[in-house]
């Protein structure tokens, strides 16, 4: 019996994580609202329904298809059912977002008009090896395009309208078109902020050492 219910349990755990990332209390009422459309949480919820049901045989796959169309109608959000994305996915403004068969960790934040896709339109849509792979806690800015078989490390931030076609290491930022990678600020100033504030000479020494 528990084997029958374990997929349900997994699904609701996943969705509860998404609801928390969206500042909503996970409840059946929220899920119903999300299924019908009028909720900010609906884009992520409809995607979860789609990806859970699309390979489950006929009545369910039809429901998955409906969820996909519904998502496109209400949220203007298109996502491949083959995308594997961890819990805590959050889309504040899902308008115009298009996502291919990517794989991503937890707490992914995507802003409006962002694209995750192929670098070359001639590649095979069904093969996930041509799509980006994302770590945990990644934030993607408005209008950014993340293209091709690249890896985005944990905690990376992609700036607005950036076009990312190279790997981004963990904790770094990628901005511009084509994107250049900016290392995190903390690695430039190895010592703590307090020390720098009280001893200006320490900062100069550091820069000299570099």
């Amino acid at each position: 019996m528990s084997q029958v219910f374990s997929p349900f349990k997994q699904f609701f755990e996943l969705v509860a994580g998404d609801a928390k990332a969206c500042d909503r209390r996970p409840s059946m009422v929220l899920y119903m609202k999300a299924l019908l459309g009028p909720s900010r949480f609906s884009s992520v919820f409809l995607f979860r329904v789609d990806s859970a049901l699309h390979d489950k045989g006929l009545p369910w796959s039809l429901l998955a298809k409906l969820a996909r169309r519904w998502n496109r109608l209400w949220n203007n959000f298109e996502i491949s059912e083959g995308a594997r994305i961890g819990p805590g996915m959050y889309l504040p403004h899902p308008f115009g977002v298009v996502i291919g068969r990517i794989s991503a960790g937890s707490n992914l934040i995507i802003l409006q008009n962002a694209t995750f896709g192929l670098k070359d339109i001639r590649f095979d849509y069904q093969d996930s090896s041509h799509y980006p792979r994302l770590g945990d806690n990644v934030t993607v800015g408005a209008g950014a395009a993340v293209l091709g078989n690249i890896a985005i490390g944990d905690g990376a931030v992609i700036g607005a309208n950036a076009v990312v076609i190279t790997d981004v290491p963990a904790g770094c930022r990628a901005v511009g078109n084509p994107a250049r990678v900016i290392p995190p600020r903390t690695s430039l100033l190895c010592t703590s902020d307090a020390e720098l504030a009280f001893e200006p000479s320490a900062a100069i020494d550091l820069r000299g050492a570099d």
């Binding site: 109608l73 694209t115 339109i121 084509p178």
Partner: protein, 195 residues
């Protein structure tokens, strides 16, 4: 009259083929008309363009198709645009296309804009808009603006802002866009310089 209808469906069949649909069926067209499948953006544009300036009842249908396209697919395409067969919009969200001239197999991805360089120019004149050759791909979020020519087989990268001509087979990327020669031609040129 029937030849015109036949021509229309021949054109639409070519568009459907570009999206990977081999044969056109009646339910498929009806679904597209209602905005229920991936083909609907292109189909509604073709209906709009075919019925535009055809007198009262048909013009009303044309306007309806255009509004319907904005509602379901959030894409706006000028009914005066002359776009050849094989027109493909894989993800029609946010696409805005003006009165352009384009050849066969034009592919436009999401959030791309093909429009005037200056708001003051006439929006019903082909001369103020870009012209496209065959087999052009416009990437996600790109803007192609003004009286320029994009030649056969050119590719516009994501988020590029193109205001200069792009020669055949070249790649235009960046903001403002710079043109990159095709990779297959680059070695031959280097060889000729060496020799």
């Amino acid at each position: 009259m029937f030849t015109k209808v036949k021509l229309f469906f021949a054109l639409v069949a070519e568009d459907a083929k570009a999206l990977g649909r081999e044969r056109l069926s009646m339910p498929f067209c009806l679904m597209a008309l209602l905005g229920l499948n991936r083909f609907s953006a292109v189909f509604l544009h073709r209906v709009e363009a075919a019925l535009f300036l055809k007198g009262f009842p048909l013009t009303a249908f044309s306007r309806l198709a255009s509004r319907w396209n904005g509602l379901w697919n959030s894409c706006e395409i000028s009914p005066l645009a002359k776009i050849g067969p094989g027109f493909c919009l894989p993800h029609p969200t946010g696409v805005v296309i003006g009165t352009i001239l384009a050849g066969k197999n034009l592919t436009v991805l999401q959030n791309a804009t093909i429009a005037l360089k200056d708001r003051g120019l006439a929006s019903d004149d082909f001369r103020n808009f870009p012209s496209f050759g065959d087999n052009v791909v416009v990437g996600a979020g790109a803007a192609v603006l003004g009286d320029i020519v994009i030649s056969d087989g050119a590719v516009i990268g994501s988020n590029a802002v193109v205001i200069i001509d792009v020669p055949a087979g070249c790649l235009a990327v960046g903001n403002p866009a710079r043109v990159i020669a095709p990779r297959s031609k680059a070695p031959s040129r280097k060889l000729s310089v060496l020799a």
